[in-house]
């Protein structure tokens, strides 16, 4: 499999490694597995581009979007700890410090907080898919019925 990698001019040896793997791999899955074996973090975007962590190097049109969707469901996305799980497990502590505030959670930590949502949004522009929520100042209600 030969990948249309065109953006490695500045990183010499790494380019050679990737090009060598491109030729040897028989499929996108095999190529991703090869990256993983040598400790290079990677992921595939919605559009099907291959992104390599840290260097942020991409191979555009690595796979078509339909295949990207399949690959993405079976592989971890970059820097995506389980923010919801972290939030639920640390809620008591978070409420003590951030009660009444909007918070943004990224990589299992709070990266921004504010009393207003627009201000919070300004603080988190650099993050991809931060989780946002408003932490109640008062007690949390745990039973509810909506049935819209």
């Amino acid at each position: 499999m030969k990948l249309p990698v065109t953006t490695f001019e500045k990183i010499g040896d790494f380019k050679n490694v990737i090009e060598s793997m491109s030729i040897e791999a028989q499929s996108p899955t095999e190529f991703l597995a090869a990256l993983e074996r040598i400790g290079i973090g990677s992921y595939v975007t919605e559009e099907g581009h291959l992104m390599i962590r840290y260097w942020q190097i991409g191979a555009e049109d690595f796979v078509p979007p339909e295949q990207a969707s399949i690959i993405r469901t079976s592989r971890p996305l970059p820097d995506q700890g389980d923010n919801m799980d972290w939030l639920s497990k640390n809620l008591q502590t978070i409420r003590q410090e951030y009660g009444g505030k909007w918070v943004a959670v990224y990589n299992e930590r709070i990266v921004a907080s504010s009393s207003t949502l627009p201000d919070l949004m300004n603080q988190i522009e650099e993050y991809d898919r931060p989780l946002i929520t408003l932490i109640p100042a008062g007690p949390v209600i745990w039973t509810f019925t909506y049935a819209l």
């Binding site: 949004m121 946002i132 909506y146 819209l148």
Partner: protein, 145 residues
């Protein structure tokens, strides 16, 4: 008997009441694409009783709005009776799919730290099949219903 296959399972999330009692919530991580093309992760409560994705009204800045009540006014039935909601169209990403769907803003949705709204049926549920296992705290999902 019918047999269904699912490719994905979503574990419920555990919350603890002030008395230390566990409450399990079927929460789904939904990415909202904002008008500035950034992606925001919103935890939504999986709710087959909700006709439409419904967010708390105070989230209106995420839709690029100046106020929550700029959109199409609709009457929505809730546990507390009929209330005015305002409907918009937005793009979300959920379970590996990008979907353009209606979203309603509702001022009476209670504030909860673990979810910002309800994952309702309109448009979104057509894309998936679901299996709900309360006893094991799992939601099963197929992308090919």
């Amino acid at each position: 008997m019918p047999s269904k296959n699912f490719e994905r399972s979503v574990k419920f999330y555990e919350g603890k009441t002030q008395n230390g009692i566990s409450v399990w919530l079927p929460l789904v991580d939904v990415s909202l694409i904002t008008p500035s093309n950034s992606r925001i992760s919103l935890p939504l409560l999986f709710d087959t009783g909700a006709s439409v994705i419904t967010l708390r009204a105070d989230l209106y800045p995420l839709l690029g709005l100046r106020s929550w009540d700029e959109g199409l006014k609709v009457q929505t039935g809730t546990g507390g009776g009929q209330v005015d909601a305002y409907q918009y169209t937005a793009t979300i990403e959920v379970f590996g799919k990008s979907i353009q769907c209606p979203i309603q803003l509702l001022p009476t949705l209670p504030l909860h730290p673990l979810f910002c709204g309800l994952l309702g049926r309109d448009t979104v549920f057509n894309e998936f099949g679901f299996g709900f296992w309360e006893s094991t705290h799992e939601l099963f999902v197929t992308e090919s219903p």
